[in-house]
C-alpha cells in the first residue's frame, strides 16, 4: 500500500477527483491524496517541503517558477489540458452583460477575480481586461479571491455581481451561475503537470501522469469541459 499526493490547481477539483478514483482502481495498492488550491500557494507549499509527489498547475508561469527553483523533474513536465475563461453572473441576476465594457455599469458594484499574485485565473483575467483597457478602470470593484473556486463561490452566493472563472468551473455550478460571455484576449490556457523533484515515489508519480495523459484520462477531463492541450 502506497500513497501519492497530487497537488493540483483548484479548477481541477472535480475532474481530478474522478481521475484519482479511476487511477486507484487501475493501480490497486496505490492511494491518491488530492490537495487542491491555487497554483501559487501549491508552489509555496512544495518549496516549504510539502510532501507532494505530483504537481499540476493551471498556468505555465507557475510551472516555470517551479522549474527554475528545481522543484520538479524537468523531463516529466507535460501539458495535459486546456481551458477557456468566462465571465459569470449569479443565476438570478437581473443585469444583462453583453460585452466586457458593460462591467463599468453602475449596477455592477463588485467583480470577483483571482488574485493575480498567486491565482493563474486571476492573471488570465488581468490580461484579458488589460487588453480591453478595463483593468485599471474596474480595479475599485474587484474582490480578489484566493483561488478560482473562491470566485465561483462568491458568484454562486450572490455576494458579487460578476466573476471571471474557467469555463469548467462555470459548468460545475450550472444551477447557480450563468455564463455571460467568453473572454478571449489572453494567453492560451494550458495546464502543465510534472513529478515533484523531492519525491521518493517517482514510479507511481510517473504512472499517475501517464494515466492523466492516457485516453481514459483525457476522456474524463473532456467530460468536465477541459480541452486538449
Amino acid at each position: 500500500e502506497q500513497e501519492i499526493i497530487v497537488s493540483a490547481a483548484a479548477s481541477l477539483t472535480n475532474a481530478f477527483t474522478e481521475v484519482g478514483k479511476k487511477f486507484e482502481a487501475a493501480n490497486p495498492g496505490t492511494k491518491v491524496v488530492l490537495n487542491f488550491a491555487a497554483s501559487g500557494p501549491l508552489l509555496q507549499q512544495i518549496e516549504q517541503g510539502a510532501p507532494a509527489d505530483v504537481f499540476a498547475s493551471a498556468d505555465q508561469k507557475t510551472m516555470d517558477q517551479a522549474n527554475e527553483k528545481k522543484l520538479i523533474l524537468t523531463e516529466t513536465r507535460k501539458n495535459f489540458a486546456g481551458n477557456g475563461l468566462v465571465l459569470i453572473v449569479p443565476g438570478d441576476a437581473k443585469t444583462s452583460i453583453k460585452a466586457l465594457k458593460d462591467l463599468t455599469l453602475k449596477e455592477i458594484t463588485r467583480i470577483s477575480v483571482g488574485n493575480p499574485e498567486s491565482v493563474p485565473a486571476g492573471r488570465y483575467a488581468e490580461e484579458a481586461l488589460t487588453s480591453e483597457g478595463l483593468w485599471e478602470t474596474l480595479k475599485p470593484k474587484f474582490i480578489l479571491a484566493n483561488s478560482v473556486r473562491q470566485v465561483l463561490d462568491y458568484v454562486s452566493r450572490g455576494e458579487v455581481d460578476a466573476g471571471i472563472v474557467y469555463a469548467t468551473d462555470a459548468a460545475v455550478a450550472k444551477e447557480k451561475v450563468r455564463v455571460a460571455l467568453k473572454l478571449e484576449k489572453h494567453k492560451p490556457i494550458l495546464y502543465p503537470i510534472a513529478v515533484v523533484a523531492a519525491t521518493r515515489k517517482t514510479d507511481p508519480a510517473r504512472r499517475f501522469i501517464d494515466f492523466v495523459l492516457s485516453e481514459e484520462g483525457v476522456e474524463i477531463l473532456s467530460k468536465y469541459g477541459f480541452g486538449k492541450p
Binding site: G40, P41, L43, Q44, E47, R110, N115, E117, S118, F142, I143, L144, A145, N146, R157, G158, E159, V160
Partner: protein
C-alpha cells in the same frame, strides 16, 4: 513602507472598533449576569462564550449565513439600504467583535463578581442611586479586570484571521489586515514582505501584552 503601513492602520482601525463594540456589549451583559438572577442566565453566558471555543471558520460560516448578501440580516440590509457588510472593513469589524467578545465578557463578569458586595451596599446606605453605585463603585472597582480583558480582546481582534477571511475577504487596502497580509505574503512567496509584517505585528502584540499584564 505603505505596503506595511496600510495594513497596520487598517488593523488598528478594525481592532479598535471591534474592541469598542465588544467592550460595550461585554461589560453591560457581564454586569447584568453578575447582578441579576434570571432564567437562562448560564445559557446566555455559554452562548456569549461560544466564540472562544468555536473555530473561527465556523463563526465565519455563521456570519455569512447571517450577514451575507442573502443572509437573514444581510438581505434585509441590502434591500433596505443597498449596503452589504461582506468585503468591507465594517464586516471585518463584525467578525472581530464576535471573536473577541468572550474575552471582555468573561473578564468583566469575574471582575464584577469579585467585588465585595458590602461595598455596593455601603454605597446604597450613603444615599447612592443604583446608577451611582454602578458608576462610582462597581465600575471603578472592576476596571482593572475589565481593562485586562479589553487588552486581550484588542489583541485577539488584531490577530483575527479565519472569520475575517471568510466575511471580509482579503482585499489589499480595504480589508487586508496584518494577519491576512502575512498569510498573503507567505502564499505569494514574498519573503521580505512577510518578514517585515511579522516583525511589526510581533512588536504590537508584545506591547499589548506588556500593557495588559
Amino acid at each position: 513602507m505603505t505596503q506595511t503601513l496600510v495594513p497596520l492602520l487598517l488593523t488598528l482601525k478594525v481592532a479598535g472598533f471591534a474592541t469598542l463594540g465588544a467592550s460595550l456589549v461585554g461589560v453591560s451583559v457581564a454586569f447584568l449576569l453578575a447582578r441579576v438572577r434570571f432564567r437562562g442566565r448560564e445559557w446566555l453566558d455559554a452562548f456569549l462564550t461560544l466564540p472562544l471555543v468555536m473555530p473561527p471558520t465556523v463563526l465565519g460560516y455563521y456570519l455569512i449565513v447571517i450577514i451575507g448578501r442573502r443572509g437573514w440580516i444581510g438581505s434585509w440590509l441590502y434591500e433596505t439600504f443597498g449596503v452589504t457588510l461582506m468585503f468591507t472593513w465594517q464586516g471585518a469589524v463584525v467578525a472581530s467583535t464576535v471573536v473577541s467578545l468572550p474575552l471582555v465578557f468573561k473578564a468583566a463578569r469575574s471582575a464584577f463578581e469579585s467585588i465585595d458586595p458590602n461595598l455596593e451596599k455601603a454605597a446604597r446606605t450613603l444615599g447612592l442611586s443604583e446608577a451611582g453605585v454602578f458608576f462610582r463603585v462597581s465600575f471603578p472597582l472592576a476596571w482593572p479586570g475589565i481593562l485586562a480583558g479589553t487588552m486581550l480582546a484588542f489583541a485577539r481582534a488584531m490577530g483575527e484571521f479565519g472569520a475575517t477571511l471568510m466575511v471580509a475577504g482579503n482585499l489589499p487596502g480595504k480589508t487586508q489586515t496584518l494577519s491576512l497580509a502575512v498569510y498573503d505574503a507567505v502564499q505569494a512567496g514574498n519573503e521580505r514582505m512577510a518578514a517585515t509584517l511579522v516583525i511589526i505585528t510581533s512588536l504590537v502584540c508584545m506591547a499589548v501584552l506588556v500593557f495588559s499584564g
